[in-house]
Symmetry: C2
Subunit: 312 residues, 2 copies
Amino acid sequence: MLKISDFARLGQVSMRTLRYYDEIGLLKPVQVDTLTGYRYYAVEQLTRLHRILDLKEMGFELAQIVQLLDEQVTPEQLRVVLQQRLAEVQQQILIEQERQARIEARLKQLVLDGQQTSYEVVLKRLKPQLVAASRTTAPSVTLQLRFARQMLQFLKDSGVKPGEHILLLTLDANGGEGEGSLVEVAIPVEGSSLGNIVERSGGHITIRELPAVTAATLLYRGDPYGLSEVYQSLATWIEAHGYAVAGPYRHLLLQYGDEPEGCLTEVQLPVERKEGGTSRLFFHSGRRPAGTESGEKRAGRSCLPPVASLKA
Amino acid sequence: MLKISDFARLGQVSMRTLRYYDEIGLLKPVQVDTLTGYRYYAVEQLTRLHRILDLKEMGFELAQIVQLLDEQVTPEQLRVVLQQRLAEVQQQILIEQERQARIEARLKQLVLDGQQTSYEVVLKRLKPQLVAASRTTAPSVTLQLRFARQMLQFLKDSGVKPGEHILLLTLDANGGEGEGSLVEVAIPVEGSSLGNIVERSGGHITIRELPAVTAATLLYRGDPYGLSEVYQSLATWIEAHGYAVAGPYRHLLLQYGDEPEGCLTEVQLPVERKEGGTSRLFFHSGRRPAGTESGEKRAGRSCLPPVASLKA
DNA sequence: CTTGACTTTCACACGACGGCAAAGTTTATC
DNA sequence: GATAAACTTTGCCGTCGTGTGAAAGTCAAG
């Protein structure tokens, strides 16, 4: 019979931990003095403690360990549970690697920028969004806005409840300005009672669902277009983080007035993981992509990837 | 002015989160109605929210984000903080990868073993341990134990307070049994008052510190030696987990009596990460078939340090 | 018997919220 | 203006695996 402190030393755990394990029924002492409450352990219980610690280091929660140890589990069931746990761990590793990439990118940006605080880029998952959409080639923001306001009014008159913000989708690649630009004005609407909008607008307005995407977003004040730094920042960011563009710009107009200073815009640039050689995973997973031999050296965890591969 | 739910939608966070951020002073609404307590946000505050989310995704704690945003931080300070965070993340990735390896190894073991529940192997970090040590070539456990008990008595007579367990270090590679085996009997002692033990024992006993090591350990009941399955299990385990032997076996005798059934032993096998071609990273990149090359399976003798290096 | 080492239970703390409830407020509709 | 629906507030409990005490009782040695 061992007292708790002895058992704790043998098992390399704290007394507090043992008491907790007792409390949750994970590891009960073989005997408890009914008068004093003293816990007495048997050396054999180290075996169980070992199993517990082993499972714990695999990242299982204590409640689950109780089940795994107390209900007799078939090897097949155990296999399933382990597989699940493995998937979670791998998921976690991906998250941490994202994190690593994010921090490294910011560090690099620090060196480059010096003072520039252009670091408001945020990665968001955008939900699918039902919108009333119409296209225009109006060459200036002002005109596009006027167009949008007409749409807004039309929707209200039609009994539809529109969201109060306006989305501009830049459907061609020259930044949304200039002669030939094609822009889709989209206004979020709710899924009910939009009956015959399409007909009533003579086909100008369609109802469609903007797909859910992951987007790099950036919030700024000023003229909704024309700030090349904005796009520059986004471009630098996605390049440094190993993303590629996966869709047209979305400009979410949060505030819009007559003068540029009154405008507040969130630029959303759909992105996806780049697959090519400059992927973060290549450098930080500690693994090699197919076709390379391992064993020549450890995949450099602490050394930075070659700058050239990250250059914009 | 935005109400909390609007602001929450724009920022893709929950109202609960916003209230919490208000509470901890991370993001306070520009205005709070003194009567109703209603929070009102300005659209500009999305910028700050963005920064918060960005830092949060890097894994910073909220308290630290408060500092980073409110105290004006020089780029240099920021760089240091980011570097620290990066190191932590990398550390975390290593831990998760350990976890991954552990689970994968167990899965593989499940397939191999079928029913065998030989999975009590646990990796431990052993602390450095001051011991009174003496060597013997006694060929059987019984004799070694007798030897150990003599030592124990001698230590007590000398006024030293010994630990109650006995450690047997197997200094050569044939499992601790047989004619030529050299075994070191080590008894943990406390660092005080061991004055002249060495002299009094005529040099037979030395005081030395067992080095701190990481060891694969396994607890079992029965004759302290002679269970080849025990060593087999350990060997299989370290092979599957990508470790290599880094020191001599330590047998920690937790219980010892006259008959084998009364013995409880923890076998501790110091290990270290293997660097070579069969590293875990290689192993889990999916290109190693389930079969294993058995050339170096029992790392045995070649990995043990020369006896001389164990002298104090 | 005293001292000191040991044990017990109780309780709070962490981090970043989620969930729920009760109560008060605004907005929309009749 | 009344009423209902939608919205907001505060507040308290729960998470998970302990760390860190405090206060009180217990055991082993001198």
